[in-house]
C-alpha cells in the first residue's frame, strides 16, 4: 500500500515506449468513443494500471463476416516490473481477460507468449517484462452485417509486480467496422503482431516428449525430429500446471541416446497429473525453426506410468528370486540357447569319460562361468543405466562391435572343431596358471560364452524377474541375476554328477573326433546368423565387410594350422605366422569398417514390411483412440526365440487372418539396435528384454494383455477371441482427443 501511494500517479503520455513505432495504433486509441476506459483514466487521478499501461488493439482495420481476426491486449510494463504467465510460478496469478462481445462473436483463448524466468530465491516466477501482447482470436459471425460496427469490450485484471505486487484493472473497448471486403491486416500494425507471434511457442510438429516418473520427480524426455543436430543448444522447460513442479530447481538438461533429458523436480503440491504439457525454450539464442527465430516450442507431455507399477516389481524378493531361477532353468529350452548347445554337448561328452570327481568339477566350473557372466552383464547393465542410457537386457547384442566379435569367435571355434586349426595348446598354456588344470578354466569360459550368447532372449518367468530386478536396489538386482545364472547352470551340474547317465556315454574313441567335426557346422550356422544380425545393424556394406573379415580369419587359421609349431621348419613357421598376422590385421580392418557402416535408412524397417508397421511412440494410443485393437511384437534380430515365434506363429495364415478379421493394427517394435523409445515401452510393462507380445483391446481404458514368450497359434487365437469383436467399440471412433 505504501508503495502505491508514495506519490500521485503521474499522467503518462502514450508516447512513452515502443508505441511511437505504431502511429496508427495511437490513432485507434484516440478515436473518439473508442476507449472509454482510457478517457476515464485521463479525467480521474486514480491509476488503475500501476507501473504499466494497457491497450486493446486489433490487427485488422475492418473485418469480414464469417472471418477470424486477432486482437491483442498489449501491456507495457515499467522497467523492473513484471506480470505473470499462465503458470505464474511460485507466486502471483495470470491475467484474467473477460470479453463482452456482440451477439454471435466469439473470443478464443489467450495465446500466451513464452515467459521469462524471474528468480527470487527460493522462489521462481514465470512472467513478462517490458512489453507483452496477449493475442486473442475473435470470430465474426457469418451473418454480421457489412456497414455495421462491432464493439469489442474487454475487462482485464492482472498483477504488476516487482518486489511487491499491485493489482491492475482495465476496461477497454474497440470499435471494428464490418465490411464485405474487410479483414486485411493493418500494415501499420503488421510488425507489432508479427513480433508478438514470433514469441508464441511453435507447434511441436515432429518433436515428441514424454515424462517418466523418477524418485525426485520426472525425467522429461524430448525427442527431436530426425536430423535435428544442435547438441550445443541449452534449454528450459516451462510447465503449464502450477502445482506439479518445483519451479526454482535447475533442470540440468543433457543429451542421451539422441534425446534431450531434463530433470524435473516434483513439487510438494503435485497431484500426479496425467500430463505435464508446457513450453520448451531454447535459452542459447537459437530457435526451433529453420530461421532460428522461434525460441519456444509447445510440448504435449504425457506422463508415462512408472516402470515400477507392474505387479512383479512389488512382489516379495523371494518370489522374484524363484521366478529368476525358473526363468534361468527354462532358458535352456529356448531356441536362443541353440548356439551354445554344441559346446555343451561336446563338453559333456568329453568329461564323461573322466573320473567322476573331475567331471563334477567341470560342471561346477561351467556353472561358475555362467553365474559370473550373468553378474558381470548385470553390473554393466546397471552401471550403464545409472549413467543415464536407456538400455535393457540383451543390450550387448545391440552393439555391432560385440556381434562382430562373437561372430568371428564362433567362426574360429567352428574352424577349430573342423580341424583346420589347433591353436588350443598355446592358448591353454597361456591361460593355465600354477597347478590348476587349465581345462577347468576352459569349462568356466564355456559357461561365460553360453551366458553371453544365450542371455539376450527372455524365457518365461525371466522377463518378469529381469524387469523387477531393474527397479530394485542394486544388491537385490544382482541377487536376481545371480539366481538366473544359477537356474541356467544347474542342469549341467546335476547331469555332470549323475553317475548313471555318465556310464551311458560310450568310451572315448574315434567317434568323438567325428562328433567334434560335425559340431563345427552349428557353429558356422550361428556365425551366419550373426552376419545377418550384423547386416541389419550396419547394412549390406557392413555384412560384406564382416564376411571379408571371416574369409581373412579363415585364411590365417589355415596358415597356422597347415604349419603347426612342432613339426614345421623354422622358415615355414616364421613365414606362415607373418602371413597369418597380416591376414588378421586385414580382417580387423575389415571388421572395423563393417562396424562403422550405417544401414540405409530403410534397412531395418524393410524387415517390418507388409502388414506390420514400425513402432512409434504414441502410435498405440492414437490407434486405440480410433477404436482399433493393437498387437505389438517386441522383437530383435539377435533374439532367436523372437524369430522362431515370428516365422512359425505370427506369419501363420490363420493368425494373420484372425488379426485382419478383427481389424488389429500390427506393430513391430524392432530392438535390434538401441532404441530408447522401445526400451521405455518395454519398461512400461516392467520388462527389459524381448520377446514380448502385447495385445491392446480397442477400449483405451482396458488393460493390455501380455502373451507368453513362446507363442503358439492357439495362444494368439485364444487371446484374440478373449478380446472379443472389435466392432463394438468402433462407436467410439469419433471421440476427439480434446482441445486445449
Amino acid at each position: 500500500m505504501q508503495k502505491r501511494t508514495e506519490g500521485p500517479r503521474r499522467y503518462r503520455t502514450l508516447h512513452s515506449g515502443w508505441w511511437l513505432a505504431a502511429p496508427s495504433l495511437l490513432l485507434a486509441l484516440s478515436r473518439p468513443g473508442g476507449i472509454p476506459g482510457r478517457s476515464e483514466a485521463l479525467s480521474a487521478p486514480a491509476d488503475t494500471t500501476p507501473h504499466s499501461e494497457a491497450y486493446l488493439v486489433s490487427e485488422a482495420r475492418s473485418v469480414r463476416p464469417g472471418s477470424t481476426f486477432t486482437v491483442a491486449l498489449a501491456i507495457d510494463l515499467d522497467e523492473g516490473w513484471h506480470t505473470y504467465w499462465r503458470n505464474p510460478g511460485d507466486s502471483g496469478t495470470p491475467a484474467i481477460l473477460e470479453w463482452s462481445l456482440p451477439a454471435g462473436y466469439h473470443a478464443g483463448p489467450v495465446q500466451w507468449p513464452a515467459p521469462e524466468r524471474i528468480p527470487a530465491p527460493p522462489l521462481m516466477s514465470y512472467a513478462f517484462t517490458g512489453r507483452v501482447m496477449l493475442l486473442t482470436d475473435i470470430t465474426v459471425p457469418p451473418d454480421a452485417r457489412p456497414g455495421t460496427t462491432a464493439r469489442l469490450g474487454l475487462s482485464a485484471e492482472f498483477l504488476v509486480c516487482r518486489e511487491i505486487c499491485l493489482p491492475a484493472e482495465v476496461t477497454r473497448s474497440l470499435d471494428v467496422p464490418v465490411a464485405a471486403g474487410g479483414g486485411a491486416p493493418d500494415p501499420a500494425r503488421a510488425e507489432a503482431f508479427a513480433a508478438a507471434r514470433a514469441r508464441l511457442p511453435m507447434e511441436s510438429g515432429a518433436w515428441q516428449a514424454s515424462a517418466i516418473p523418477t524418485p525426485a520427480g520426472y525425467d522429461l524426455v524430448v525427442h527431436p525430429p530426425r536430423g535435428w543436430d544442435e547438441r550445443s543448444a541449452s534449454f528450459y522447460f516451462f510447465v503449464d500446471d502450477a502445482t506439479a513442479l518445483e519451479h526454482a530447481v535447475p533442470q540440468a538438461p543433457a543429451w542421451r541416446d539422441g534425446s534431450l533429458h531434463l530433470a524435473l523436480t516434483r513439487s510438494a503440491y503435485n497431484t500426479d497429473p496425467g500430463a505435464l504439457d508446457g513450453v520448451l525454450e531454447r535459452t542459447d539464442g537459437g530457435g526451433f525453426d529453420e530461421a532460428g527465430t522461434r525460441a519456444a516450442l509447445a510440448l504435449a507431455v504425457p506422463v508415462q506410468k512408472a516402470a515400477a507399477t507392474p505387479a512383479a516389481s512389488h512382489q516379495a524378493l523371494a518370489i522374484v528370486l524363484v521366478f529368476a531361477f525358473a526363468g534361468g532353468l527354462l532358458l535352456n529350452l529356448m531356441p536362443c540357447v541353440f548356439p551354445v548347445l554344441s559346446l555343451k554337448i561336446l563338453g559333456f561328452v568329453h568329461h564323461a569319460g573322466g573320473e567322476a570327481r573331475r567331471t563334477r568339477l567341470h560342471g561346477v566350473a561351467f556353472a561358475a562361468g555362467v553365474i559370473l557372466s550373468f553378474l558381470v552383464l548385470a553390473t554393466t547393465l546397471l552401471a550403464v543405466r545409472a549413467a543415464g542410457a536407456e538400455v535393457g537386457w540383451g543390450f550387448q547384442l545391440q552393439s555391432p562391435a560385440v556381434v562382430a566379435a562373437l561372430c568371428v569367435l564362433l567362426f574360429v571355434i567352428g574352424l577349430g572343431f573342423a580341424g583346420v586349426v589347433e591353436p588350443g595348446a598355446s592358448l591353454t598354456r597361456l591361460a593355465g596358471v600354477g597347478g590348476s588344470d587349465p581345462r577347468y578354466r576352459g569349462s568356466f569360459l564355456t559357461g561365460v560364452l553360453a551366458a553371453v550368447v544365450a542371455t539376450p532372449c527372455t524365457a518365461p518367468f525371466m522377463g518378469v524377474a529381469v524387469g523387477a530386478a531393474l527397479v530394485r536396489p542394486s544388491a537385490e538386482a544382482l541377487g536376481i541375476f545371480g539366481m538366473l545364472g544359477m537356474g541356467m547352470a544347474v542342469p549341467y551340474v546335476v547331469l555332470s554328477s549323475w553317475p548313471g547317465l555318465l556310464r551311458r556315454v560310450p568310451r572315448p574313441g574315434a567317434w568323438m573326433e567325428t562328433l567334434k567335426q560335425a559340431l563345427a557346422f552349428p557353429m558356422f550356422a550361428v556365425s551366419a546368423w550373426l552376419v545377418w544380425v550384423f547386416g541389419l545393424q550396419t547394412g549390406m556394406d557392413g555384412a560384406g565387410a564382416l564376411l571379408a573379415c571371416l574369409v581373412l580369419v579363415g585364411f590365417a587359421a589355415w596358415a597356422v594350422g597347415r604349419w603347426p609349431a612342432g613339426t614345421s621348419t623354422r622358415r615355414a613357421l616364421v613365414t606362415s605366422r607373418a602371413v597369418a598376422s597380416l591376414a588378421l590385421v586385414a580382417a580387423g580392418a575389415a571388421a572395423w569398417h563393417g562396424v562403422r557402416s550405417e544401414p540405409a535408412a530403410a534397412s531395418v524397417s524393410e524387415v517390418t514390411a507388409g502388414a506390420w508397421r514400425p513402432f512409434e511412440e504414441g502410435l498405440v494410443e492414437a490407434q486405440r483412440r480410433m477404436g482399433r485393437p493393437v498387437f505389438v511384437d517386441f522383437t530383435a534380430a539377435w533374439c532367436i526365440s523372437c524369430q522362431v515365434n515370428e516365422r512359425l506363429v505370427l506369419s501363420d495364415a490363420a493368425v494373420l487372418d484372425a488379426f485382419r478379421a478383427r481389424g488389429v493394427v500390427l506393430v513391430k517394435a524392432d530392438w535390434t539396435r538401441r532404441e530408447p523409445d522401445i526400451t521405455r515401452a518395454l519398461e512400461s510393462f516392467g520388462r527389459s528384454g524381448v520377446p514380448l507380445y502385447v495385445l491392446y483391446p480397442p477400449d483405451p481404458a482396458a488393460e493390455p494383455k501380455l502373451l507368453p514368450a513362446m507363442l503358439t497359434t492357439g495362444i494368439v487365437l485364444d487371446a484374440l477371441d478373449a478380446m472379443g469383436a472389435s466392432g463394438s467399440s468402433l462407436a467410439d471412433a469419433g471421440r476427439s482427443n480434446g482441445g486445449l
Binding site: 522462489l123 568329453h350 558381470v376 566379435a405 591353436p423 542394486s474 544382482l478
Partner: protein, 214 residues
C-alpha cells in the same frame, strides 16, 4: 585327448568381451525442504508483537493454524478486506484453536512493520489471530517452505501436520472470487473436528511471494 583341448581356449575371448564396470548405481536424490503431511510439524519458537515467545511445543494438545501474513499483499488484502480470514480466525479461536499469523518479511520489505505499527495494522485489518509472530530473518518461513502470503498450515494436537497450502482453491486477488471458492483450511478443520479424514490435505499456496531477506 588333445583333440578336445581346443575346447579349453575357445571362450577365452568371450570373457574379455564383458567389460566390468564399477557398480556405482547409487544416486543422491535432491531432498525437498519443507514439512510433510502426516509428519511432525517442524518445531519453532518466535516472539509475537508484544515480545512474548511462542513455541509450537507449548501448544501440544491444541490445534494450531499457521498463516503467513503480509498486510500489503493484494491477496492478503482480499481475504482481510472481505472479512474472510478474520471470520475464520474468530470462528476457530472461539473453539480453542491457536491461530498464529507469521510475518517473514525482512526489515525494509513489504509487510514488515515494527511491533507497535504491526499491532495498529492488525487492529485496523480486524485480525482475530491468537498472535502475530515476527520472523524477520525468515528462519521459520524457510523451515516451513512458506512461499506465499497467505500460505496456511494446520497442525493437530499431537503436533502432526494435517493440511498445508492455499487458504482456498481459487487463486486470485479478486474479492468476487470468494463466492465460488472452497475455504480449504476451514474445510480441513471442520472435517478434523468431526473426526473425519481431511478431503484436501494439500493445495497450491497462492499469493504474493514471501518477502524474505535476499
Amino acid at each position: 585327448m588333445t583333440t578336445l583341448r581346443s575346447f579349453a581356449w575357445v571362450p577365452l575371448a568371450a570373457g574379455t568381451m564383458l567389460i566390468a564396470t564399477p557398480s556405482s548405481v547409487a544416486r543422491t536424490e535432491p531432498g525437498r525442504a519443507g514439512p510433510e503431511i502426516g509428519q511432525a510439524a517442524p518445531a519453532f519458537t518466535l516472539p509475537d508483537t508484544y515480545g512474548k515467545e511462542h513455541a509450537l511445543e507449548q501448544y501440544s494438545g491444541k490445534w494450531v493454524v499457521l498463516e503467513w501474513l503480509n498486510y500489503d499483499c493484494p491477496y492478503v488484502r482480499k481475504h482481510y478486506s472481505s472479512g474472510n480470514i478474520p471470520g475464520q480466525q474468530k470462528k476457530w479461536t472461539d473453539q480453542g484453536v491457536i491461530w498464529l499469523a507469521v510475518v517473514s518479511s525482512a526489515p525494509g520489505k513489504q509487510g514488515y512493520f515494527e511491533p507497535a505499527a504491526m499491532n495498529a495494522r492488525s487492529a485496523k485489518e480486524g485480525s482475530r489471530a491468537t498472535a502475530v509472530l515476527l520472523d524477520p530473518d525468515g528462519t521459520v518461513g524457510h523451515l516451513y517452505d512458506a512461499r506465499t502470503t497467505p500460505h496456511m498450515f494446520v497442525i493437530d494436537p499431537q503436533g502432526v501436520l494435517r493440511y498445508m497450502g492455499g487458504i482456498d482453491d481459487v487463486p486470485s486477488a479478486r474479492v468476487g472470487d470468494l463466492q465460488r471458492a472452497t475455504q480449504l483450511v476451514d474445510q480441513a478443520l471442520t472435517e478434523l473436528f468431526a473426526g473425519k479424514p481431511v478431503s484436501v490435505t494439500t493445495s497450491r499456496p497462492y499469493g504474493c511471494s514471501v518477502k524474505y531477506e535476499s
